[in-house]
Assembly symmetry: C2
Homo-oligomer: 297 residues x 2
């Protein structure tokens, strides 16, 4: 049980977080948040989504966000591109890393993107291929890796199969998402044990939602199992579409506090991060979803 | 790394929680909360404190609380008794279990109770002795077991020494409190390793505050290390006197959700517990401090 000596944080607040927050959202607010996160030392920031504004109105204008961002060679700004049209728009905007978003639950895939898992993977294949041809890295998300709001418990083997197909099409990293936040550390242990038989730790990330307050315990379990890439969202941005008033993504501040305590390197300045979280929370007129943010803010 | 098969929850919301909540608090509100917790299956409930109302005004009338509680042979209602006067009042009120409250930090002891750790233990000795003579069980709390707001990091050995003295004076259980919530799982691991060399797991409890969102990860680490008694507070009642707006005790709902996921027995009905937490939160006009409570409420 050796913990990793350093961890890569993938900050998803400006995309997965903001797209689920109520209220007004301008391109300027998004850019300001992203710049503050980069200033705080984050090196992997999901900055937008190239998807129809009919489906995700909050991410409209992602091309303007990317155009406004200061060039920082040390920072990777990524974007979600669910289809070829999205990828083309992302490439036109100069995006250097994109992500596709599969599910381990048939019921979730059907409700969310109106197709089977197999069909969704077929749709992603040309997207990934064209991205790689353009020299753009592709990340693969898998949602509902432990539980599904429509289908209940998900077998680890279902996740393994989707992960392998995403790797086959050229994804360099697979982010395992507990979309509804129902996991506990034993479920994460069993899931990772199954996935690690087929996929190297270096290609795996965990993406946990804190709906039931379990995310940090699950992240600790993942660290114990050698995982060294963690998705998180500043100020816990993002809600849960399946439970009104519920918490969203695990807060980056809590993850950094944990890593500091564990002596694991990450490169993020916690005080600057807390300021960024306080600023976006105030701007959105919401409570700060990070306990670290509230205690230190 | 075998997790315990069952866990004893010590519900501290009606004491450690409520005493730190702002606003009005009546005996009737306290009794209603305690009855709801017992109805939900909690079997160990810290129901009050026999201490000068000058110091802890919220706990005034604890004798009336105990008098009003329905007799339930299966439930232990305990009270804090920091001195002989408190113990006498508790015995007069028919209390069957009391607790004394030491610190592992000299600076905290000085600021909080205006004496050294050794002096505080000398003060507790006759209290514990008289309680045992009256057939009343005594629990020992140790605060600041990992960090102190005035002194910084606390060495595990300081905790071991206080624990041994509390056991020597007849405490049947030692509750290890991370009063300021600064612990991370490695610190809990090192602390428990040191304490377990001298004290059996059956005599240990963990009492974690969630100031920085680390409590559940720390509880998971404690479970991994064989600890099977956990203090927690419904709805996360209780704030942090050292950081305005910060979180207090770990929420019992989150602990029960974790134990359910891990398949560890505890005897608590989560839905009934969530109702109790929602009711007291509404009564106090505060946000529900439990994420499980917000998601399920």
């Amino acid at each position: 049980m050796t913990l990793p000596s350093s961890v890569k944080i993938v900050e998803v607040g400006p995309r997965d977080g903001l797209q689920n927050e109520p209220g007004e959202l301008t391109v300027a607010t998004r850019v300001k948040l992203i710049e503050a996160l980069a200033d705080a030392g984050l090196r992997h920031i999901e900055a937008g989504s190239f998807v129809s504004p009919k489906w995700v109105p909050k991410m409209a204008g992602s091309d303007q966000v990317f155009a406004a961002l200061k060039a920082r060679p040390e920072v990777t700004y990524s974007a979600l591109t669910p289809n070829m049209q999205g990828l083309e728009a992302a490439l036109a905007a100069g995006v250097k890393e994109v992500a596709v978003f599969g599910a381990a639950s048939e019921a979730f895939s059907a409700k969310n993107i109106n197709c089977t898992i197999a069909e969704s993977l077929e749709r992603f294949r040309p997207v990934a291929s064209a991205a790689l041809d353009a020299g753009v890295a592709v990340r693969g998300y898998i949602s509902c890796v432990v539980g599904c709001p429509y289908q209940g418990a998900i077998a680890p083997q279902a996740v393994v199969e989707v992960a392998q197909q995403l790797l086959d099409m050229g994804c360099y990293e697979i982010s395992l998402g507990d979309t509804v936040g129902v996991a506990t550390p034993n479920r994460i242990g069993a899931l990772l044990e199954a996935v690690q038989r087929k996929v190297a730790n270096q290609q795996l990330a965990v993406h946990f939602h804190d709906t039931y307050g379990q995310a940090l315990a699950n992240i600790y379990r993942a660290l114990e199992m050698g995982i060294s890439t963690i998705d998180s969202s500043v100020a816990g941005l993002g809600g849960c579409p399946y439970a009104a008033g519920a918490s969203g993504n695990v807060a980056t501040e809590e993850v950094i506090y944990l890593l500091n305590g564990l002596g694991i390197a990450h490169g993020v300045d916690l005080a600057a991060l807390v300021q960024a979280g306080a600023a976006i929370s105030a701007k959105l007129g919401r409570d700060n979803g990070s306990k670290v943010g509230r205690a230190m803010g």
